[in-house]
Symmetry: C2
Subunit: 126 residues, 2 copies
């Protein structure tokens, strides 16, 4: 399993997110596989064009202060899940990012994030 490649793709995802970099996100989102996204509080969005539209909408608000914490890889051949906490402005979320190997790169096919309670100060999360 190419754990480094998957973690690099996950890091690229959060970098694009933090920098509101639509072009970087466009490079990361898969082109040859079905894609979807579930942003917190949004309905399900599927199809590449509509998924990219959600990022355009979110990025129009400017850079996003989303910090990934404790990514964990769940590997299944050419598909990998990265399950990760997201810390943003005192709010905590948990996210599932699904990557697929496409043209030698790990590309994002799905992202779901949802709120979780803030962890206790001594919790392993932080």
């Amino acid at each position: 399993m190419d754990s480094d490649g998957v973690l690099a793709a996950n890091a690229a995802f959060y970098r694009a997110f933090a920098e509101a970099d639509l072009s970087a996100m466009d490079k990361l989102v898969a082109r040859d596989h079905a894609v979807a996204v579930i942003h917190p509080g949004w309905p399900v969005v599927s199809g590449r064009a509509d998924v990219m539209k959600t990022w355009r909408t979110i990025f129009a608000e400017g850079p996003q202060n989303v910090c990934p914490v404790d990514p964990e890889i769940f590997a299944y051949g050419d598909i990998a899940l990265v399950i990760v906490y997201e810390k943003t402005a005192g709010i905590f979320l948990a996210a599932t990012n699904v990557f697929v190997r496409e043209a030698g790169d790990w590309r994002l096919v799905h992202h779901q994030a949802g709120p979780i309670p803030a962890p206790a100060p001594d919790a392993p999360l932080m």
Copy 2:
């Protein structure tokens, strides 16, 4: 792609959920692949034993009124995502269920559910 098999596994998941049937859930959760779960408002739980413990905790409260709506399959070979709305006691959630083919069956490796706003009355969701 074995869409019928994936949808049947997804339906079995919600049946086990609705009936608080721990034995049915135990049959459905993968044994040979890494598993995790993100219940709404819970931290990430990974590892089969701990994942099953979450279901035991939830099912201890009795049958769960969770109704799946509009499941959509995203297929990647022997891995399939089912993205689906969940309706429960007037609350709406969106969920990602990840299935892997294991010993000829589709088994659950990951489930994340998070709240979404109630859809408008004419929305396709309902």
